[in-house]
Symmetry: C2
Subunit: 240 residues, 2 copies
């Protein structure tokens, strides 16, 4: 019989959102403008639907927080983003097997109505990272970070999660971890997360990094490849 | 072709969580102890998985926020509450057809490791309601309210949602509406919600009301009927 788990303990330098210290950090960040973007994300914070769906789960949070109308039915009479609607770029059955890389998550974001900037440590620097965090804290865009959990002493390897806020004075970021069955949301050093994004993704041979997403209702329509890749994804899914 | 919807507008006396006024109310409630219980719930805020699953979706939020180990596998190696695991008391296929009533949600909560107090306006009073809200705000228990949306000028009828906080000075409650495809979380008058709980549920001929849930790891084991009702639910589901 396979061993099963009820969550994992956070490493000692990582601060649980609902702990007394986590709540103190929240109050400080709230008072200093580090959580202006938090509220829209908190409204849509979500558990990734399947164990390999951290990229898709992070997109569900981001796309619903950006108030993007998917233009397609979710369930009943409602249009809404769930992982099942994210059927462009890569077939869901492939994602179940292997997850997604940074460019694939960017592709999925673009063909679902956002404009996306892709950043990697090798072509960026720590000041760009903190500028991106500050803009996310102000609610100007949504940041999804791609990082190696092992470098944060967490259980697992490559992971995606949205960033819920930035406490600039203490240089701490709030990770809204979509693997809520494993870790609660937590505050962690922005410097450590920056280092954890340097890890090479074995699937691409390139480093991980982060995405900055903005709603762009014209994006899906302008990007002719979106429809093509959605069809490709659906076909591949049907074959899979 | 059926008309579909992207969300609904909140009534004008209802304040969206992420709006400027919503954020002001949040900061006020945070400073006055009205959101001590918020953080655990925010960690687990969730979209009900199906249109009839507001009762189950509210329980998923509550049970995960109360850090109850379901003792059964969710997906992969993880034990975690999703709607699919809530298979006692009433079969999922029946819930898909007709939803749940207040006593059934209480039954489901009990056979999943909580102790539950059930309140109805006809056997309670407004001071008990506000005492329950205050205890929820302090994080002493989780409140799930059962109410008629029509009495709040919202779209729809009977609904369940967890309560995320209580701003006592302004007598406003924070509803963490699990139908996130319809309404974002919102602040609303505790008095209006009290009145909306007086509505009679046609399924039972009794008023709606609210539940106060506490983690009670011994509950599932002590309650011999839990196992029996889980089996009954599973059998009914298989027949359905």
């Amino acid at each position: 019989m396979t061993e099963t788990f009820y969550r994992r303990m956070l490493p000692s330098d990582t601060i649980e959102f609902s702990s007394p210290l986590g709540r103190q950090l929240f109050a400080e960040a709230l008072a200093t403008g580090g959580l202006d973007g938090y509220f829209r994300l908190a409204e849509q914070f979500h558990t990734q639907a399947e164990p390999q769906f951290c990229g898709l789960g992070s997109l569900v949070v981001a796309l619903n927080a950006l108030a993007i109308d998917p233009g397609r039915r979710w369930q009943g009479v409602w249009r809404w983003f769930s992982e099942q609607l994210l059927d462009c770029c890569v077939a869901l059955d492939q994602i179940r097997q292997r997850g997604l890389d940074l460019d694939e998550v960017a592709c999925l974001a673009r063909c679902n109505g956002t404009s996306v900037d892709v950043f990697r440590p090798e072509t960026s620097d720590a000041s760009a990272w903190r500028a991106s965090l500050s803009a996310a804290a102000r609610g100007e865009h949504v940041v999804i970070a791609s990082y190696d959990r092992a470098r944060l002493d967490q259980s697992g390897s490559g992971h995606f999660s949205p960033i819920g806020g930035y406490h600039a004075e203490r240089d701490l970021v709030l990770i809204l971890d979509v693997a809520r069955f494993k870790y609660p949301p937590h505050w962690i050093s922005a410097e450590r997360l920056w280092q954890a994004m340097h890890a090479v993704d074995p699937a691409t041979g390139r480093s991980r990094g982060w995405l900055a997403l903005r709603a762009d209702p014209q994006q899906a329509m302008r990007d002719a490849s979106a429809v093509a890749c959605r069809s490709a994804g659906s076909n591949a899914d049907a074959k899979g």
